[in-house]
Amino acid sequence: VLDLAAVPDTVVSPAVYGEKTGGPVLDFSYVGIDAILEQMRRKAMKQGFELNIMVVGQSGLGKSTLMNTLFKSKVSRKSVLATAQEKIPKTVEIKSISHDIEEKGVRMKLTVIDTPGFGDQINNENCWQPIMKFINDQYEAYLQEEININRKKRIPDSRVHCCIYFIPPTGHCLRPLDVEFMRRLSKVVNIVPVIAKADTLTLEERDFFKQKIREELRANGIDVYPQKEFDEDAEDRMINEKIREMIPFAVVGSDQEYQVNGRRLLGRKTKWGTIEVENIAHCEFAYLRDLLIRTHMQNIKDITSSIHYEMYRVRRLNENNTTVAHANGVPEHHLTAHEM
């Protein structure tokens, strides 16, 4: 490795262009390779980012509210639609809505995919099927674009990057539906389980519940995000182990602000006190937000594109003459090995 001198004396800062440098002012030991970071940043800012989040859980668990809280705006489907009271659908529906949001010059196309009707029927058998199909359909769409002769410059990414699964705060253990769903879907998408409406659990109940859940996940071989097998190096492993010891995050959502100690905070006001959503002593919303948005967003997208999508692609390319519709619409006992 040829090591160049790191810090130059006089530097034409990569962020400052158009300045004429007349005469021999530069210290020639500086080449300027690290300017590529700034070039990348510029390109990323220009292109913007895409993020597709799916929320899965029974109705009434606060999915829409949590989405609104996460993105500090009315991004959920319910906020967009005028209808206040919706009937619970008879079957699982997939409803997707996109928003353009911008923060400090960074533009993001956020797509929230809602799954009303999940787990709400008396007989919930196979209620994960439409969800599986949707996720696979997005992989399929991307694959089709990718194998075109005339390809778009940037293939639109509608693949589900992250699926937040809402566990009802029973305090005991996972229900069979939870286990079934997470077992099947953790193989095709990044699952982030959260304990919904965690303000009904005391801290002890919460810890006990979390431990039970972690045990059950382990016992069933369910690998949720951040998956152990995708840790890249020791540093990754260290960071991710800390997260793995904390999941599932016990969250409370709110899009109402209240006055607490002279500050306006997001929270839920009850007769016995106000739960501050962003206070980590009250609930773990802040950890979830940091994980999903502030630190691991790129990683979540990378795992989706370089692992889940690639696995789908391998399966698909190894198939012979079975169309996707055939594989997905048929009742379970007819399904071939690649469909969970």
């Binding site: 490795v1 040829l2 160049l4 790191a6 034409v12 262009y17 158009g18 440098t21 005469g23 021999p24 530069l26 020639f28 500086y30 080449v31 300027g32 390779i33 690290d34 300017a35 590529i36 970071l37 070039q39 990348m40 940043r41 510029r42 390109k43 990323a44 980012f49 996460l70 993105f71 705006s73 991004v75 967009v80 079957t91 997939i94 997707s96 996109s98 928003h99 353009d100 949001i101 960074v106 993001m108 196309k109 196979n126 099927q129 439409p130 949707f134 075109n148 002769i149 005339n150 997001l266 937000r289 948005i293 502030r294 630190t295 967003m297 790129q298 370089s306 690639e310 391998v314 169309t323």
Partner: protein
């Protein structure tokens, strides 16, 4: 069985939504950059130009280091491409830099095919990437990208115009790679001649329809500097790794009796401009253009050539796969046939060889037999001769003993010669 309904809201498009507080996804560019820093970067430069135009020196000067390699001889029979890969690091950025040099370019008497090996090389890198992309199990994110991101075309400082070799080569390369033409060893040209030279070159490129790389002007933060630089093309550069003391600083320069050409002095040459454009401002754009334009063009042509078509909206979803499978089977069939043929040929040859060897063996046996017989005959003759010789010797011996006997008797008998004679006569009978 559950049914699905993918509902799209009316008047959908995408809504712009204001945020009520700090969410935190403004860290995305940082997250992306961090990921790239961990992975490291790749940059591949191809230097095309005649021997002796200072390609290697310019690379050394640009990257501030001494790359390996000896100056090439002028007697190469054809154009070959030699590539060297180096790992450079500056602050936290690791760069895998590959420099490819054309060896022997412009040295042949007949230069008609000079461009071919260059085009083949560039295509080979695209092909390697395409192969990886088409693999079933692929590892694109850790693939070492060898596609050429920038081609520096070195123009000889004649001061007049482009050579026809230059035009032909650049025309063949302009749809495959980002070409940045530079005037090499430009300290051989005076300032006024240089201006005329640049104009001549630019007009020749335009009139011949050669598409050189344009520095991008769509991003406001760099549009101005890029468009200024576009007007300075081709850059007139001077390379040097030797340092000369100017004032109280050591600078890279070439020292002549009549003065010193300072490499980093913008009044002397365009080296700083080249470095600025190539590395500090547009390296990422060069990589992106290579991937989204040149590579896509290659891929499109290659796949169409292989017989693929894009799917119709109502045809079966995976004709690429099917066509590929069909081609693959066809190819495998041909391969097997060839293998069979070769095997047959081999068996045939073995048979023939065996027959030949048998023949030879037979001949040898015969020869051996003949020789043996010959030998025996000879032996027999010799034995006969020996026998006759032995007989003669015996006769001679007998005669000798008889003669000796007679002599003895003659001596004993003394005077009675008649007696002797009589006796002799008697003995004789």
């Amino acid at each position: 069985m559950a049914s699905t309904e993918i509902a799209r809201q009316a008047g959908e498009g995408v809504r712009g939504v204001p945020l009520a507080g700090h969410v935190g996804f403004d860290s995305m560019p940082d997250q992306l950059v961090n990921k790239s820093v961990n992975r490291g970067f790749c940059f591949n430069i191809l230097c095309v130009g005649e021997t002796g135009l200072g390609k290697s020196t310019l690379m050394d000067t640009l990257f501030n280091t001494k790359f390996e390699g000896e100056p090439t001889q002028h007697n190469q029979p054809g154009v070959t491409l030699k590539s060297y890969t180096y790992e450079l690091q500056e602050s936290n950025v690791r760069l895998k830099l590959t420099v490819v040099n054309t060896v022997g370019f412009g040295d042949q008497i007949n230069k008609e095919d000079s461009y071919k090996s260059i085009v083949e090389f560039i295509d080979a890198q695209f092909e390697a990437y395409l192969q990886e992309e088409l693999k079933i199990k692929r590892t694109l994110h850790s693939y070492h990208d060898t596609r050429i991101h920038a081609c520096l075309y070195f123009i000889a400082p004649t001061g007049h115009s482009l050579k026809s070799l230059d035009l032909v080569t650049m025309k063949k390369l302009d749809s495959k790679v980002n070409i940045i033409p530079i005037i090499a060893k430009s300290d051989a040209i005076s300032k006024s001649e240089l201006a005329k030279f640049k104009i001549k070159i630019t007009s020749e490129l335009v009139s011949n329809g050669v598409q050189i790389y344009q520095f991008p002007t769509d991003d406001e933060s760099v549009a101005e500097i890029n468009s200024t630089m576009n007007s300075h093309l081709p850059f007139a550069v001077v390379g040097s790794t030797e340092e000369v003391k100017i004032g109280n600083k050591m600078v890279k320069a070439r020292q002549y009796p009549w003065g010193t050409v300072q490499v980093e002095n913008e009044n002397h040459c365009d080296f700083v401009k080249l470095r600025e454009m190539l590395i500090r401002v547009n390296m990422e754009d060069l990589r992106e253009q290579t991937h989204t334009r040149h590579y896509e063009l290659y891929r499109r042509c290659k796949l169409e050539e292989m017989g693929f078509k894009d799917t119709d909206p109502d045809s079966k979803p995976f004709s690429l796969q099917e066509t590929y499978e069909a081609k693959r089977n066809e190819f495998m069939g041909e391969l097997q046939k060839k293998e069979e043929e070769m095997r047959q040929m081999f068996v045939q040859r073995v048979k023939e060889k065996e027959a030949e060897l048998k023949e030879a063996e037979k001949e040898l046996h015969e020869k051996f037999d003949r020789l043996k017989k010959l030998h025996q005959d000879e032996k027999k003759k010799l034995e006969e001769k020996k026998k006759s010789l032995d007989d003669e010797v015996n006769i001679f011996k007998q005669k000798k003993t008889a003669a000796e006997l007679l002599l003895n008797q003659a001596q004993q008998a003394g005077g009675s010669t008649t007696l002797k004679r009589d006796k002799e006569r008697k003995n004789f009978f």
